[in-house]
């Protein structure tokens, strides 16, 4: 065999053709949306049902209402108690989860394809006839409070909750901790939780999703029971409180005495996923902190060694979300790391992306789309996006076309429009005694100390 030339990376074979999975969509009697895709013969399928509920529909002071209501759903149905429900799911090789996000409560069932009919019946039973037993609710409340106490020592959680409050504002729905506070959880009643779910189960706001090996015609039948759900007569309404950008640059410090690292967040309120610029912002973020080889990670990790990793991103759903840089850095590097992050943001906003970065992002993200929808999990995420945002079925192909065209000027304009560097929020959860002075010396207009949790 002749020696192989190792001095250059081997070239690419011809690129595979890009295919978005074929999806189907319909509206059921009563108004529920149904979106599905047929996957190649598989051993398991995914059924999901999303309701217009979740964090945005939790009044201030009721923190934890949505996430606890979701958890109670798994405590059984009129026919089965929680233990029997779990045993029946196990016998179908199925996993059922219920969770509350910002815009929705989502029930998701992944189960063996051969038992999917039975599993779908079970899912609908949980949705339509949840038990909401008073004793179960009381127990889950006590358990939730115990878990909140245990996680009070978790710096990552403290940072997550504090960041929501800082960006969305104390006293707003989205500024509250999604898991609740001990006091708020303690005050919730069984009737409040049950009523919340009844109102959430408004057929007009339901989004059902299917990934299965079945033909669309047979797949639809799995959710036929949805058409029988009657309108509850009242709807949940999102909280009217509006999140706004801060007035100036502000640092918020949460003390964690003796911590060997500080959790840092730097960013601000940002546009929802439905904003026309949202995908473009994802692309803009790529050279900043969206990939391992981005400016922030190469600087803070691969050059300075201050952190195990740093990432940035725009996150949002149907409502405004956040732009944030997030890292855990060694304690003594806290203030220098904030300074470096701010400098990187200022450089990006002033100078924009480089030609190499643009090509890197264009190549990387286009090629990523080629392999994006391979798994059942990825297909489930695709149909979820289609159902939630109402995007056209070929939105991945449109993104691919847009990537081919986007210019440096386009991205630079986005940086100017969407990075609000005079309104930056900085959060540091760390050992105040060691990091406070350095943070104060950064000279931000406002400096606050916040209690954990």
């Amino acid at each position: 065999m002749s020696a192989v030339d190792r001095t250059h990376a081997p070239g690419a074979a011809p690129a595979p053709e890009f295919r978005t999975p074929t999806t189907w969509r319909e509206t059921l009697a009563g108004g529920a949306t149904l979106v599905g895709t047929q996957a190649e013969p598989l051993a398991f399928g995914v059924l999901a049902l999303a309701a217009d509920a979740g964090q945005a529909f939790v009044p201030p002071g009721k923190a934890g209402l949505a996430s606890l209501a979701a958890e109670v759903l798994l405590e059984g149905t009129a026919r089965l108690d929680g233990t029997e429900l779990q045993d029946e799911l196990d016998g179908l090789g199925a996993d059922l989860s219920a969770s509350a996000g910002t815009d929705s409560i989502v029930l998701q069932l992944s189960g063996l394809e051969r038992h999917l009919d039975h599993a779908a019946e079970l899912l609908l039973e949980v949705v339509r006839e949840p038990r909401f037993d008073a004793a179960d609710v009381a127990r889950l409340k006590r358990q939730r409070i115990a878990r909140l106490e245990a996680r009070a020592s978790d710096a990552a959680r403290i940072a997550g909750d504090a960041w929501q409050a800082i960006v969305h504002g104390d006293g707003t729905s989205l500024g509250q901790p999604s898991a609740g506070t001990p006091a708020a959880i303690n005050a919730l009643t069984r009737d409040e939780l049950a009523t919340y779910w009844e109102a959430a189960l408004d057929p007009a706001g339901l989004r059902a999703q299917i990934v299965s090996a079945r033909e669309p015609e047979r797949a639809r039948g799995l959710f036929a029971g949805l058409a029988e759900i009657a309108s509850p007569g009242r709807k949940l309404t999102p909280d009217a409180g509006e999140s706004t950008l801060g007035a100036c640059r502000r640092i918020t410090l949460v003390d964690r005495p003796g911590a060997p690292q500080s959790y840092l967040r730097v960013g601000h309120l940002a546009v929802p996923a439905t904003h026309p610029d949202f995908y473009a912002l994802y692309v803009l973020n790529h050279p900043l902190g969206g990939a391992f080889s981005s400016r922030l990670n190469l600087n803070l990790r691969e050059d300075k060694g201050w952190t195990y990793g740093v990432r940035s991103g725009f996150g949002g759903g149907l409502r405004p979300g956040t732009f944030q840089v997030a890292a855990a850095v060694e304690t003594d590097a806290s203030a220098p790391a904030v300074a470096e992050i701010v400098r990187e943001l200022e450089e990006l906003r002033a100078g924009g992306v480089t030609a190499d970065e643009l090509e890197f992002a264009r190549e990387s993200l286009s090629q990523t789309l080629l392999r994006q929808y391979e798994s059942v999990g990825a297909k489930a995420a695709l149909v979820s996006n289609l159902a939630k945002y109402g995007w056209p079925a070929d939105y991945p192909a449109r993104r691919l076309a847009w990537l081919a065209e986007v210019s440096k000027a386009d991205l630079d304009a986005l940086a100017e429009r969407h990075l609000h560097l005079d309104r930056l929020e900085v959060l540091a959860v760390g050992d105040a005694e060691r990091i406070r002075g350095g943070l104060e010396d950064l000279g931000f207009e406002a400096f606050e100390v916040r209690e954990a949790g």
Binding site: Q86, D90, G91, F292, Y308
Partner: protein, 424 residues
């Protein structure tokens, strides 16, 4: 459930596993090396993992930073992981870029050392120390495994430390250590290359031969011999940490992986705590509300295995009371009937979990590569499921007595700093 594969060996000893699945234009590449933290020497704990980091710092023909950049530019993802028994490196790419991954993997398998510098080592040492701070030191209950390992195994036993290692040992690592470790373990004859997804097996094999075939074989590495913990009596350990709620861990030495008793131990854990209908979970979390979280697992490694129960008490419940109740429940488990229907249900549950875990080309390729590395047979998945399906209720009761009830164990209490009196 079977995954299709073919297996070949190159003349330098590299074993190549190929898995064709043309559903999507995706290819996954895994290189598994048969070395992990249980090959480390005392005084250099954490080295195998730090070494893994060094493999992303470039090699003779791959400039620093290019490994990540090139894979990501090609639309791929990549990473590496280290555990006690093995280290793996992997990429998932659009299938037209298979050769890029093979070039990168073969260059670092064959030509790593010319690219190693003190500055890179110092940088990655700092990164790993921050990994330790983030995932162990500054995380509640993050040092539980470390305390368990120290308590269960005698000093010098390779399972007496964990993969992340100690700060002091990380400080000790030199470029000479990197060179020796590379020469000893990072050779084609101590590795498995697995390629899965949208490939033609013949073409993929030719590419593997092209990029890896010319690398020289290294010294033979003997398979590790099981080495029991030898725990003679109960050991009670208290760890003070930055936590608000205490946590109890009970742990028993069990058996190395693929020991005949391993499947029954796994099933026993599921009978005790697979979900809220299981004995421990139902009693502790539902009926009696003594705990807000219960976790149980049996983990078999090449040298030895262990079974751990972790439980966090509800307010007002002491670790001592929690431990006593768990002991009572374990004793009643020995009296309790475990129905065939129950075991059957657990097997279906297990099948569902495995099928979901094999959702991606990457996961399937990894599974084949891992079975090959440890057993010389990529197709062990079916046998793995079968040995669990063959477990009877008598087996479950037998291992409960043989390894748990009344056996030497570690009782670990994690308590808030300054409150050692809360320990069990």
């Amino acid at each position: 459930m079977e995954l299709r594969f073919e297996k070949h060996a190159l003349s330098n000893g590299l074993e190549v596993v190929l898995h064709q699945d043309r559903t999507d234009p995706v290819v996954a590449v895994y290189v598994y090396y048969h070395v992990g933290s249980s090959r480390e020497e005392p005084g250099l704990t954490g080295f195998a993992h730090l070494f893994e980091h060094m493999l992303f710092q470039g090699s003779e023909n791959v400039p620093e930073g290019d490994h990540f950049r090139l894979i990501q530019e090609a639309g791929g993802t990549l990473n590496g992981t280290t555990n006690e028994d093995r280290t793996n490196y992997y990429e998932t790419l659009p299938s037209n870029r298979l050769e890029l991954a093979l070039w990168l993997e073969s260059d670092r398998m064959g030509f790593l050392l010319p690219a190693m510098t003190q500055a890179k080592l110092d940088n990655q040492r700092d990164v790993v120390k921050n990994e330790r701070r983030q995932n162990y030191d500054n995380r509640p209950y993050g040092r539980v495994r470390e305390a368990l390992a120290e308590a269960m195994y005698p000093a010098g036993h390779p399972l007496s430390w964990t993969t992340i290692g100690s700060m002091e040992d990380l400080d000790r690592v030199t470029l000479g250590d990197v060179e020796r470790f590379f020469g000893r373990y990072y050779n084609p004859n101590n590795a498995t290359l697995a390629i899965g997804g949208d490939i033609e097996p013949d073409e993929a094999l030719a590419l593997a031969e092209r990029w890896f075939g010319g690398l020289p074989a290294g010294p033979q590495v003997a398979a590790p011999e099981p080495r029991a913990a030898g725990l003679a009596e109960e050991r009670r350990v208290v760890q003070e940490d930055r936590v608000t709620v205490p946590q109890l861990t009970l742990a028993w030495p069990t058996v190395p992986t693929w020991h005949p008793d391993e499947p029954a131990l796994n099933l026993m854990c599921e009978v005790l705590s697979a979900n809220r209908s299981a004995l421990l979970d139902k009693a502790l979390m539902v009926d009696e509300e003594l705990a807000s979280a219960v976790m149980i697992g049996n983990r078999g490694l090449e040298l030895d295995g262990s079974l751990s129960i972790h439980a966090r008490p509800t307010p007002g419940v002491s670790l001592t009371a929690l431990a006593a109740r768990i002991d009572e429940l374990l004793a009643t488990a020995a009296e309790r009937e475990v129905g065939d229907e129950h075991l059957e249900r657990l097997c279906t549950r297990r099948e569902g979990m495995i099928v979901r875990a094999l959702d991606t080309v990457s996961a399937r390729t990894s599974t084949l590569g891992s079975y090959n590395l440890f057993h010389g047979d990529p197709g062990r998945l079916g046998a793995d499921l079968e040995r669990h399906r063959a477990v009877t209720r008598d087996d479950v009761l037998r291992v409960l007595h043989a390894y748990v009830l009344g056996r030497p164990r570690v009782v670990l209490s994690v308590v808030p700093s300054g409150e050692p009196e809360l320990a069990a």
